[in-house]
């Protein structure tokens, strides 16, 4: 058992590097590159992630002069705690809107369950085609936004295989999720297969910036019901914020555990145990 002394936890090197990179990143602020109707968005948390990768002694050699691997490893403990202020702030955005959410109807609530379709295709591809291990659970059990990371962090730890999976999809989502949601909603709107209000509600499944880009594209496709589309998308995103955590804990994660066991046992017998990763 490793017991961190207070001196180790309080070591100024790690916290100074984090403070420095967070402040620089926040000063740069949100930047975007427009691509057609959509935007490639860059958030400060993304720069902070990149800057600290450069200062990570496990990755670059020069940073070993600033901080050793043992001092950097305290970050794992801070990480489990550091997500909590963010979660608490998130909750305070939901509380005031809860009465509004209650008014918004059966379709709105039911489409939250539709989020579970996330893993139907992605999990078999991950397990059967790519032969991924338990990373597949973290990667496909949800859309991998901040609350979903918090759930995985709490249940398995971010250093676990499940943690690696959820962080992988999270980073992809942060970099390209916004533009991808704008593209797919525009594409589906052009087919006229699905009610634009349903498409608008589906826009709310991800982060705030994903919701904005996605519903912005829809509003451009259906200018006469623009206001209705933005309202549906906004309410759906609030509802996702409110219920996403609980759907993830009580339905998404247990179901993905079960689904993973089914798939991995079938792939195990088919491949005759040759492809263990």
């Amino acid at each position: 058992m490793v017991h961190y002394s207070l001196k180790t936890l309080l070591n100024w090197r790690l916290h100074s590097i984090v403070l420095f990179s967070a402040i620089i990143s926040e000063f740069i602020g949100i930047q975007s590159i427009p691509i057609g109707n959509a935007k490639l968005l860059f958030l400060p948390l993304f720069y902070a992630f990149l800057v600290c990768l450069i200062f990570n002694p496990n990755i670059t050699h020069f940073s070993q002069k600033l901080i050793n691997k043992k001092q950097a490893s305290v970050a794992i403990s801070v990480l489990a705690i550091g997500i909590l202020p963010f979660i608490a702030k998130f909750g305070t955005l939901i509380g005031p809107a809860l009465p509004k959410i209650m008014d918004s109807g059966v379709a709105m609530i039911m489409q939250e369950i539709g989020n579970l379709a996330t893993m139907l295709i992605a999990m078999p591809v991950a397990v059967l085609l790519f032969k991924m291990g338990r990373e597949a659970i973290g990667a496909t059990y949800s859309i991998a936004r901040e609350p979903n990371i918090a759930v995985i962090s709490d249940r398995y730890g971010l250093k676990s295989k499940e943690g690696v999976g959820v962080m992988g999809v999270y980073v992809m989502g942060t970099m390209f999720g916004t533009i991808y949601f704008a593209l797919i909603s525009g594409l589906l709107a052009s087919t006229d297969w699905i009610d634009p209000r349903a498409l608008a509600m589906a826009c709310g499944v991800g982060s705030g910036s994903m919701t904005a880009a996605c519903s912005g594209t829809l509003a451009a496709a259906y200018p006469d019901i623009k206001d209705e589309i933005l309202a549906f998308a906004g309410a759906s995103n609030l509802l996702t914020n409110a219920t996403g955590l609980y759907v993830a804990i009580f339905i998404g994660l247990p179901f993905s555990e079960w689904y993973y066991k089914r798939l991995s046992s079938s792939s195990y017998s088919v491949s005759n145990a040759t492809n263990e990763v």
Partner: protein, 159 residues
């Protein structure tokens, strides 16, 4: 090299710190988050402080509930439950709480979290990511598409 691997493995088994250590780390983190919030929103350390104290109290209540009530309900869910309850319009002083919380941006609170996440990356994970980077990209596209179309179809069925 052998040595660092051993350290990493033992840490995984012992990711839970004591209550006191967690509170101390939380205080450091809140300080850094306030500076990050200042750089991002322009609200000074002191302007953000009352809101951060409110969040801190909610978190301590959530952590205490997790300690007292055994079960699968994780700390994050307790903390989120407490913060939702305290800001319901019917909750006494909820508008006062919200007015103090306004000076904190939730994206700025997430910035130092991601910085610590990057510092927590180890040799082991880099190897893993090198092996499966393309796979993760394909899986991500499937995850986003599945979620979006799944939600849209269910909403369509109930409209």
């Amino acid at each position: 090299m052998m040595n660092t691997t051993t350290i990493d493995l033992t840490q995984k088994e012992n990711k839970e710190l004591g209550f006191k250590e967690n509170i101390i780390l939380m205080l450091i983190f809140c300080g850094i988050a306030l500076m990050s919030n200042w750089a991002g929103t322009g609200h000074s350390f002191l302007e953000g402080l009352p809101g951060m104290i409110i969040l801190f109290v909610m978190i301590v209540i959530g952590m205490a509930l997790k300690l007292w009530i055994k079960g699968p309900f994780p700390t994050v869910a307790w903390v989120s439950l407490i913060s939702v309850l305290c800001t319901l319009p019917a909750f006494p002083y909820s508008s006062l709480l919200l007015s103090h919380l306004q000076s904190l941006s939730f994206l700025s609170l997430a910035t130092p979290v991601l910085a610590y996440a990057a510092m927590a990356v180890t040799d082991m994970e880099i190897k893993l990511f090198k092996q499966s980077g393309i796979k993760i990209a394909i899986i991500s596209v499937l995850v986003f598409t599945g979620t979006y179309i799944g939600s849209a179809l269910v909403a369509e069925a109930f409209l």
